[in-house]
């Protein structure tokens, strides 16, 4: 039986696109979350890895944790970054897997994809590419990835079970999901869960 979702997935996606379009094009604006280098330091990313990246690769970073904190990626691994945004985690991953690995970022916001793609080109990272797609329908073949990463994205998806099923599909048997996301210690009232404005703000 289909699960009843708290909000309409398409309406939520439009809300999320609007928010992250602004993060891509005006990263210095005021948001309800931290962004950029200060956020990366707060979340414990390796300072040298972040410092090696140009501002355009870091300024629109809006993650909620460090998906690579529990395990560092290994050279040669193939990685999918779900909701790659302007590419920050993809570029960090690219440094860890090295030129023998591959990183494929997937995002649904055109402005984020344009920014991440241009940054990869400027950095000469031939083993990093970005594709348009949804977390629930990744443009990735079955069992392609050694590792799937994501940062602060799954909480913004209405159908989380569909997202996890899709990640399971693109991971090879034995592959790992490494993601960061928020969790609440106190229950959120049902009416708040149905309020799309509260999902992104």
């Amino acid at each position: 039986m289909a699960q009843k979702l708290p909000v309409d997935p398409d309406a939520l996606r439009e809300q999320v696109r609007g928010k992250y379009r602004e993060v891509a094009t005006d990263p210095g604006a005021s948001f309800h979350f931290h962004t950029g280098r200060g956020l990366a330091a707060r979340l414990g990313y390796e300072a040298a890895a972040v410092g090696a990246l140009p501002d355009r690769a870091v300024e629109s970073f809006a993650g909620v944790g460090n998906p690579l904190s529990l395990r560092r990626l290994e050279p040669g691994e193939k990685v999918v970054d779900v909701g790659s945004g302007a590419g920050f985690d993809s570029f960090i991953a690219a440094g860890q897997v090295g030129p023998g690995g591959q990183v494929l970022g997937v995002d649904m916001t055109a402005e984020m994809l344009a920014k991440s793609t241009q940054t990869a080109e400027r950095l000469g990272l031939g083993h990093v590419q970005f594709r348009e797609g949804l977390a629930e329908a990744l443009p990735v073949e079955e069992a392609w990835a050694d590792v799937v990463i994501s940062n602060g994205v799954i909480n913004l998806c209405a159908d989380k079970q569909a997202v996890f099923a899709e990640i399971f599909r693109v991971l090879r048997p034995g592959g790992r999901l490494q993601f960061a996301d928020i969790a609440n210690g106190r229950p959120v009232p049902a009416d708040a869960l149905r309020d799309i404005d509260l999902w992104t703000g």
Binding site: F31, R42, L43, P67, K160, P173, G175, Q178, A180, I182
Partner: protein, 44 residues
């Protein structure tokens, strides 16, 4: 939910004060919202 999707070996990292000092801090505090790293495996 991860286990319902077939994942095993689930690990959860330490809580991170993601929203501390941000504009959304008050809402985050109201519901004890923190960031976490998660890791899980697709069985071989």
């Amino acid at each position: 939910m991860l286990q319902d999707s077939g994942f095993t070996d689930v690990l959860i990292g330490e809580a991170v004060d993601t929203f501390g000092g941000a504009n959304g801090e008050n809402k985050a505090r109201a519901f004890e919202v923190y960031g976490y790293a998660f890791m899980a495996r697709r069985p071989a």
